[in-house]
Amino acid sequence: MKKGQAHIRWGEFLIETLIRVTGVSAIFFVALILVFLLREAAPALVQVPLSNLLGTRWYPIEEYFGLVPLILGSLWVTFGAVVIAVPLGLATAVFIREIAPGWVREILKPLIEVLAGIPSVVLGFLGWVAVAPLVQNLLGAPTGLTILTGSLMLAYMALPTIISISEDAIDAVPKSYRDGALALGATHWQTIWRVVIPAARSGVLMAVMLGIGRAIGETMAVMMVTGNAPTIPRGLSAFLKPARTMTATIAAEMGEVAQGSTHYHVLFAIGFVLFLITLLVNIAAAVLMLRQERGGRGRLLG
């Protein structure tokens, strides 16, 4: 009897420990990555004057390490992607949850999951072969490899994330809200637009945040379709011009650099900036999620 109990305790203890280790190791690995990034990025600040790092020219083989075009390039491509993907994603989520009959929903949901599974290099190739010529011929851009092309591909990639998370948010809106709205004489559309979406807004915002996170970190497709020219985007017409993102810069140049060179450290500094941006976006999403959990009800009054 006693022996048997000890046996169970040992098994439980092992499993508990294992789970604990895996849980702690996730935090530990993130911390390790942060330390490594900082250690490799810090020499860049010492070796390169700040005026150079904040310059507008990126041409590393001649020691021009201006990060501004790369940061702006990433932000513009991501911004374009969000502007395209959010309305589409939200509309799709509303359609799936509120309008589509059951059998359509059953077909659409797995299809959207398949969309999420397409490798980015395949999308990049599609963008290169199919979307870039369209952008050039229909919109009259000098080349099809533009910010807009990148934004379109990223929007496509961020869509599954945005759809499934805003769908969950809409699903979480209590049925009583809908019933109440309909009972008050609101039409189906008025219920969706005035009641369901406002009630789900923090979840929808979180979907947007995670969509941004997905878009800003994407590398391969962006490298293939944005032309990689480190220009400073100015005005709306910049969407029809090429740009170079932070991720594409790291991917294209990391293989080239000698370990320990200034260029190597600057690439890590770019990685650090990217890490900070995604961290901020994730923190914002987490804060929104907390708020949603706490105050899901009664939001309509506010």
């Binding site: 490594f36 021009y64 075009p69 990689n228 000698a258």
Partner: protein, 300 residues
Amino acid sequence: MPRTRAMVILPLVGCLLLVSLAGCSGGAAQPPPAEAAGGFTIQNKGSDTLVNLALAWAERYTALHPEVRIAVTGGGSGTGIAALINGTVHIANASRKIKSEEVEQARANGIEPVEHVVAADAIAIVVHPHNPVDRLTIPQLSAIFSGKITNWKEVGGEDRPIVTLSRETNSGTHVFFLEEVVRQGRKDDKTLFSPETLLMPSSEGISSEIRRNPNAIGYDGLGYVTPDQKVIAVARDERGPYILPSIETVHNGTYPIARDLYMYTAGEPTGIIKEYLDWIRTPEAQAIVAELGFVPIIKH
């Protein structure tokens, strides 16, 4: 109570293990052993311009010497030289000369790079087949790629914007083009590529954009020019003569944008690597050079 203590200790042990592993990976780079079990594997990496040629050589050589294995990868001249400096390859392919900073970095790692000329190459200037422009001078090319000329009508073409294409900055072709064309061979010239220049990750990227975009102008090794691109005749200045790139015009020195292609080894090559490099200079290996559209080296 003892249970809780063990729970704290176990993850800690794991952490310590990981930290020590992470510490080890930062240590000195070790060159891979050439004599792996079951034969020799020569690690060969670098210039994308040279990669097809290096592959063809490797294929022929390993057919002649089945005991030798040669692993060829591309990535760019800078990538190959960085790998040589980091001690991960035996032979680095480069379409440009090694830079003095790279030599210093190599010496700091205890590696003395040795240069071997293995072939020559012409850089062809290519445009869309429908582009009416068929000749340009080096100063015109410099103005186009540095962004001073931005419309084709300024060089006798249609009223279209010019889109300049280049390889990434880790490409030896990029560096060679910067020095010899954009800066026109002047050492004190600090002209740069226009920031609007599209930087393509591969030769294929350049040729397919050239094929579909009538605004585009690009450059690439002669071996990579396909028949559906239009090659521009180039002159040193407006007095001419305008010359198209070919083996003859490179050998007789009339085509202005030609260069040598290199392989670099860590120290003087010995044994199997030396035999391979010696074979590359034989007429048999140089015949492959011409087959692939490059320019064989000739004994002066």
